[in-house]
Amino acid sequence: MTEWMNLLIGVAMALNLLALGSGRLPTIIGAMSIQGVALGVMPLVLGEYPDWRVMLVAVATVAGKGLLIPALLRRAMRAAHIDREVEPLIGFVPSLLLGAGGTIAAVALARLLPLLPEHSGSLLVPGSLASVLTGFVLLIGRTKAISQVCGYLILENGIYLFGLLLIHSTPLLVEAGILLDVTVGVFIIGIIVDRIQRAFDSLDTRKLTTLRE
C-alpha cells in the first residue's frame, strides 16, 4: 500500500517540477490535470477497505481537479486569446532550483516532525510541503493570471495531500465542504480572469498597478 502511495506522491512531486520548468501554459495545465487524477486515486490506495465516504472524495477529486478545472482553465485561455508563452518574473532555472531545494528542505523538515506509526514511511508530509512551496513560487514568480491560478491550484493540492492524513478521522462534512469550496473558488477565479481580459485586453497582472501608494 505505502509503496503505491509513495509512487503516486512521487509522480505529483515530479509534476510540480515540470510546472515550474515549463514555458508553455498548455503543458502546465496538462500537468495539473494529471496531478489531479493522481491525487484522486490516492484515497483508494490509502485504506485497506475504502468506504463510501472515501470513494466520494476520490470521485469528486478526479472529476474536479482532474477534469473540470483543467477544462475551465483551457476555456479561459481560449476565450482570452492569450499567447501560450509563460512570462516569468523568476526565471525557469531559478524556479526549478527553488522547487528542487524546497523539495529537499520539505523531506528534511518532515523527518523532524513527529508522525503516527502508520504514517511514518509515507511521503505525504514532504509531498504536501513541497507542493505548497511550489505553489508559492508560481504565485509569486509568474505574471499571467492563468499561471497564477495554476500556482494556487498546486498550493491547494499540497493542502489536500496533507488532508489525506486525516481522511479516516475527520467527518464527511469537512471533506465535502473543502472540495466544494475549492471548486467554487477556482470557478470564480476563472470568471474573474475572463473579466480581467475584457477590462485590460491582456492577462498580465503586471498591469494591475493603478491601486498603490
Binding site: L112, L113, P114, L115, L116, V132, L139, A145, Q148, Y152, L155, E156, G158, I159, F162, G163, L165, L166, H168, S169, T170, P171, L173, V174, G177, I178, D181, V184, G185, I188, I189, I192, R195, I196, A199, F200, T205, L208, T210, L211, E213
Partner: protein, 480 residues
C-alpha cells in the same frame, strides 16, 4: 432554534432577493431581513440559550459578545443601502442584494461555529460571497481590487485550512478521535502534539490574520475598501474581520489549554503592534480618503490583536473595541461614501471644501474621525483606554508606549487628510457633480445613528454587554 434562525433567515432572504423581479423594490429586502436578524440577536444577547458542549453550532459566549454588534451595524448599513441603491439606479442590484444577505447569514454561522472545519467553511464562504460586492461598480479599478482580494484572501484562507489540518493532526497524534470541536480540542489540552500545535498556530494566525487584515498580510485591504461601495466597506471592516478575530480567539484558547499561551500571546502582541505601526506610517502618506479608512481598519485590527495578547482584561477591552470600532467605522465609511459621490474624486488633490458642498456628511466625517482616533466620550476612547490599562497591569509598559505612539501618528495622518478634504473652497467640477447627489435624510441619518450609538457605548455601556464580555473572559481565561 433562534440561533439557527440567525443563519436561516438571511440565507432565505438571499434566495428571495435572487428571485425578486423588481430592481427598485428589491433593496427593501435588506432592512427587513436585517431587522429580523437584529431582533433575534439582541433577544439572544439578553436571554442566552444553553449550548450543548458537543454542538457544532451554537450561540455561545463568544458569539453573544460579538454577533449583536455585527447585526446592529448590518441593520444600519441595510437602511443606508436602500438610499444608496436608489442613487445607483443604473446598476442591476440582484446579485448585490442577494450576496449582501448571504454574507450576513454566513457571518452568523462563522460567529457561532464551534467546530474547526465548520469555522473554516464559513470563512471561505464569506470570502467568496463578498466577491460580487467588491465588484459592484464594475470599473477596471474594481476588477483590479477584486482580483487582488481573491488572490491574497484565497491564499490566506488556504493557509488557514492547512493550519486546521495541522491542528487536527496534533489532536490525532495526541490520541484524539478526530473530534474537531473546540470543546474537544480544549479538553485534550496538554496531550496535543506540541510541534504540530505550534505549526498550526502560526498557519492559522497567518491565515485568519489575512482575513482580518493584520500587517504584513493587509495588502488587499486598501484596494478593496477603496473601490467597494461604502456599505460593503463597513460590513467587511465591522463584520468579516470580526469573524477572523473570533476564530483567532478560539484557536488561542486551544493553544492556551495546551500550555503554550505565552508563545501565542507574544506572537499576537508582536503582529498587533507591527500592524499598528505599518498602518500609522501608511496613514501619514496616503492621499486617498477611502484608502485611509482601510489603513485605519488595519490599525484597529492591530489594537484587537494587542488586546487579545494581554490576558483577561485585554480580551475584555478587545471585545469592547469590536463594538466601538465597528459602529464608529461604519459612520466613517458611509459619510466618506457621500463625500466621494458628491465630490467626484477620492484624493486630497481632487477634493476640497466639502464642508460647503456636503455640510452634514463633512460634519459626520470629522466627528467620526475624532471618535475613531479615541476622542472622549466616544466608545473607542474607553476601549483603547482599557487596552492601555491592561498593558500596564500585565507589565507590558514598552508595548503600551508603542501603542500610544502609533495612535498619535495615526491621529496626525487622519487629521491631515480629513481637514484637507473638508476645508477650503470646493473645485468648480465638484460644484456641478455635487448638485446631482443631494444630501437626503436616507444617507445622513444612518451614519448619524452609528455615531450616536458610538457615543452611547462610551457614555453608558449597558450592563448586559459588560456581562457578555466578562462571560468570554471567564471562559477563555479561567481563574482570573
Amino acid at each position: 432554534m433562534k440561533d439557527l434562525l440567525l443563519i436561516i433567515v438571511p440565507i432565505a432572504g438571499a434566495g428571495v432577493a435572487a428571485c425578486w423581479p423588481d430592481n427598485r423594490s428589491r433593496p427593501w429586502l435588506l432592512p427587513v431581513v436585517a431587522a429580523v436578524h437584529c431582533v433575534l440577536s439582541f433577544w439572544l444577547l439578553i436571554s442566552p440559550p444553553e449550548v450543548s458542549p458537543r454542538a457544532w453550532l451554537g450561540f455561545d459566549a463568544l458569539a453573544r459578545a460579538v454577533l449583536p454588534a455585527v447585526s446592529l451595524l448590518f441593520l444600519v448599513c441595510a437602511v443606508y443601502g436602500v438610499s444608496y441603491l436608489q442613487v445607483r439606479k443604473e446598476r442591476p442590484n440582484r446579485v448585490f442584494v442577494a450576496c449582501l444577505l448571504a454574507v450576513l447569514g454566513i457571518l452568523s454561522a462563522g460567529h457561532q461555529a464551534r467546530h474547526l472545519g465548520l469555522l473554516w467553511i464559513a470563512t471561505e464562504a464569506v470570502t467568496l460571497a463578498a466577491v460580487p460586492l467588491l465588484h459592484f461598480n464594475a470599473t477596471p479599478r474594481a476588477f483590479e481590487a477584486t482580483w487582488k482580494y481573491l488572490l491574497v484572501g484565497g491564499t490566506g484562507i488556504a493557509l488557514s485550512l492547512l493550519g486546521s489540518f495541522c491542528l487536527g493532526y496534533a489532536s490525532l497524534h495526541g490520541g484524539g478521535t478526530g473530534d474537531l470541536t473546540f470543546t474537544a480540542l480544549t479538553a485534550q489540552g496538554a496531550s496535543l502534539s506540541r510541534p504540530w500545535l505550534l505549526i498550526a498556530w502560526v498557519l492559522l494566525l497567518v491565515g485568519y490574520g489575512t482575513k482580518m487584515g493584520l500587517a504584513p498580510m493587509h495588502t488587499w485591504k486598501p484596494d478593496a475598501y477603496g473601490e467597494a461601495p461604502g456599505i460593503v466597506g463597513a460590513v467587511l471592516a465591522g463584520g468579516v474581520t470580526t469573524v477572523a478575530f473570533t476564530a483567532i480567539l478560539r484557536v488561542r484558547a486551544v493553544v492556551s489549554a495546551a500550555g503554550q499561551a505565552a508563545i501565542a500571546d507574544r506572537t499576537l502582541l508582536a503582529i498587533g503592534l507591527f500592524s499598528m505601526l505599518v498602518a500609522a506610517l501608511m496613514l501619514l502618506g496616503t492621499r486617498d480618503f477611502k484608502r485611509m479608512l482601510a489603513y485605519s481598519s488595519v490599525e484597529h485590527m492591530g489594537i484587537l490583536s494587542v488586546g487579545a495578547a494581554l490576558g483577561g482584561a485585554g480580551v475584555w477591552a478587545a471585545l469592547f473595541h469590536v463594538w466601538a470600532n465597528g459602529l464608529t467605522k461604519g459612520a466613517l465609511f458611509m459619510s466618506a461614501g457621500n463625500i466621494r459621490r458628491a465630490a467626484g474624486g477620492r484624493t486630497m488633490d481632487e477634493v476640497r471644501g466639502m464642508s460647503t458642498l456636503t455640510p452634514y456628511s463633512a460634519g459626520i466625517f470629522v466627528a467620526g474621525m475624532f471618535a475613531v482616533t479615541a476622542l472622549p466620550p466616544f466608545g473607542p476612547f474607553f476601549s483603547e483606554l482599557r487596552v492601555v490599562r491592561a498593558a500596564f497591569e500585565s507589565s507590558h509598559g514598552l508595548a503600551a508606549a508603542m501603542f500610544l505612539g502609533c495612535l498619535l501618528l495615526a491621529f496626525f495622518g487622519l487629521t491631515r487628510l480629513v481637514f484637507a478634504i473638508v476645508d477650503g473652497r470646493p473645485r468648480t467640477a465638484s460644484r456641478s457633480i455635487g448638485k446631482r447627489f443631494p444630501e437626503t435624510v436616507g444617507v445622513i441619518l444612518p451614519p448619524l445613528t452609528l455615531l450616536g450609538l458610538s457615543l452611547w457605548l462610551g457614555l453608558a455601556t449597558p450592563t448586559v454587554l459588560h456581562d457578555a464580555w466578562s462571560a468570554v473572559v471567564t471562559q477563555f481565561h479561567p481563574g482570573k
